[in-house]
């Protein structure tokens, strides 16, 4: 748990952060957000004492951070920044092992941890261990940067716009990946961004700052549904309802999908259809290849596969970890009322229905 109590940082008598009181609970993903220069980075850097407070106290698990030597404190807190700052003269593995080495872990433990983290970030250890930072793409470099911050398994992670310098597509895939990792690791995270969509996608709690002061703090839902003033309202933008949808995943709205095998005879399919408006038709690997409704029964065809309306699960299936916002826009574009939810291999997991989303 991190607690900031009436923290103020002044530069030449001018406050960069003013009288900030804030608690980040264990396992919480807190995002500091606000316009440029509002004091986000300053707040973050006071937690690991890269910047010292002018007034007020910061405590971690009840102990004032000033109680520790700054280096000792920082080795226990992960730190990732926008420009990554990988050491160009060290390999990926050496970069990741910096803090474990400072903590005097033995070599085999360091190596094991490095491989584990590369795996976690979907970077093949055999290929990436010995690469140098200049051989990495921006997305790979930032994966290594975050892996490095996690190396000594710190309970707390501080991240300053870690995905801010990436192109939108890479940024989004790293956000999804990092959200998955956080579900697994449950770190206490303080994350800085100026991108409201990123905050809504990732945070348990959003803290909005303006000119060094806290304007509103709360869950993304609370902030989207009840912004306290015009500033917050303008900051989160006009498409608030749509933004809420990106908080939810397709899996949250998934219901069982009625399905039949593609070899099933049309007469059998007809009796199965008695209880449903339509049926998904799946192949031998349970991948949806089409759907069948009452109109299809009248045909001359012998099997479900011949009578069904064909579809491609690769383009029309919705991934379970897609956001509801994506699912909705896909259904609206396709003019369909329901869509199959599939796993990575294309296997049918269930379906989501437009009517369920609109009720939400």
């Amino acid at each position: 748990m991190i607690r900031l109590d009436r923290v103020t940082k002044e530069y030449f008598g001018k406050a960069a952060v003013a009288d900030l009181t804030l608690t980040v609970a264990e396992g919480e993903f807190a995002i500091l957000i606000g316009p440029s220069g509002c004091g986000k980075s300053t707040t973050l850097r006071m937690i690991n004492r890269l910047i010292e407070v002018t007034r007020g106290t910061i405590a971690i698990d009840g102990t004032n951070v000033e109680h520790y030597r700054p280096e000792e404190l920082r080795r226990r807190i992960g730190y990732a920044i926008q420009n990554v700052g990988l050491f160009p003269h060290m390999t990926v593995a050496q970069n990741i092992a910096v803090v474990p080495k400072l903590l005097r872990w033995d070599e085999s433990r360091r190596d094991r941890r490095t491989d584990e983290l590369l795996d976690l970030f979907s970077l093949d250890p055999a290929e990436y261990r010995t690469k140098y930072p200049h051989q990495l793409s921006g997305g790979e470099a930032q994966r290594v940067g975050v892996a490095r911050a996690l190396a000594a398994d710190p309970a707390i992670l501080l991240m300053d716009e870690p995905f801010g310098a990436l192109d939108p597509i890479t940024r989004e895939s790293l956000q999804i990946e990092f959200a998955r990792i956080q579900r697994e690791l449950k770190k206490t995270i303080v994350f800085v961004t100026h991108d409201i969509d990123e905050a809504i996608r990732l945070a348990n709690r959003i803290v909005i700052l303006k000119e060094g002061r806290l304007v509103q703090a709360g869950t993304p839902e609370a902030i989207l549904t009840a912004p306290v003033d015009r500033f917050v309202m303008e900051f989160i933008g006009t498409d608030r309802a749509l933004k809420r949808l990106s908080r939810l995943s397709a899996a949250d709205f998934m219901v069982d999908a009625p399905s039949i095998g593609q070899e099933m005879s049309l007469s059998e399919a007809g009796s199965a259809l008695a209880d449903h408006r339509y049926l998904w038709v799946v192949d031998g690997l349970r991948r949806p290849v089409g759907w069948l409704d009452g109109d299809d029964l009248g045909s001359e065809a012998a099997t479900a596969a011949e009578a069904m309306t064909r579809m491609d699960y690769r383009t029309e299936g919705i991934a379970a970890d897609a956001t509801l916002r994506e699912a909705l826009s896909r259904m609206i574009q396709g003019g369909i009322r329901g869509a199959p939810v599939v796993d990575e291999g294309g296997e049918l997991l269930g379906e989501i229905r437009l009517s369920d989303i609109l009720d939400a």
């Binding site: 920082r74 700052g85 990988l86 400072l102």
Partner: protein, 237 residues
């Protein structure tokens, strides 16, 4: 390879000067003596190595220390002054330093070493500062943010990364000193400047050429050698 050939040539010229008597004779047919023989060349080389070795060694240590000092948070106040001094010093003629050092410490190798030290310091200080100042701020922030102490940031990040630039400074400094050390012969420091000075006084261009060729070869050998060292460093990193 090149280094081995140059070194072989250099040693040959030093230890059996007779091999180029013929060449010198055909170049300077009017001269009675074409090979400097007042002192064995081997001894002059050793004197030269001594002058350059001590002065450049000290310059490297002091220059590095100064460069590191003014790039620390607690030494930064001195950075502008040292920068100004370094660029000013470069325009100061070495002969003047020599002339000023003589009254202070007398004739011999001491004033020469002092002059070479001061002169050789400048490129090293300048390059150390430039090397460290040009490092990516994000790299330094990451190093500090991960919990490296200031000493660890210096030893594990700043020096390895600034290393090639610093070494380039050491190389420039040493090569300049090899040439400048010839001036030491005018105030009794010995070295490969002796044949040159003797040639100037005795109007014997063959002596001048002999000294100049040896100094030039020596400088190229050291330069190439230090260059190889740096490249190995980079290859390791």
């Amino acid at each position: 390879m090149i280094l081995a050939i140059l070194t072989g040539l250099f040693l040959l010229l030093v230890f059996s000067p007779a091999v180029w008597t013929g060449v010198m004779r055909s170049l300077f047919p009017g001269l009675e003596r074409v090979i400097y023989s007042m002192a064995p060349l081997g001894q002059l080389v050793l004197e030269h190595v001594f002058l350059v070795g001590i002065s450049s060694g000290l310059a490297a240590v002091l220059g590095l220390a100064t460069g590191i000092f003014v790039t620390r948070s607690w030494g930064r106040d001195f950075l502008p002054a040292v920068n100004a001094l370094a660029s000013m010093g470069q325009t100061f003629p070495p002969v003047a330093v020599l002339a000023l050092a003589v009254p202070a410490v007398g004739f011999g190798y001491r004033p020469t070493i002092i002059a070479l030290l001061i002169y050789g310091l400048l490129p090293i200080v300048r390059n150390t500062i430039a090397g460290i100042e040009s490092l990516d701020g994000a790299v330094l922030e990451a190093a500090r943010g991960m919990g490296m102490t200031p000493g660890q940031v210096l030893a594990k990040v700043e020096l390895p990364l600034a290393g090639p630039v610093i070494m380039a400074g050491v190389r420039i400094s040493t090569v300049i000193n090899i040439g400048t050390a010839t001036l030491g012969a005018t105030i009794g420091a010995g070295g490969l400047g002796k044949p040159i000075i003797a040639g100037l006084i005795g109007e014997n261009p063959a002596f001048i050429l002999e000294g100049a060729i040896l100094v030039g070869l020596f400088a190229v050998i050291v330069d190439t050698g230090l260059g190889l060292l740096v490249r190995q460093d980079i290859a390791q990193a």
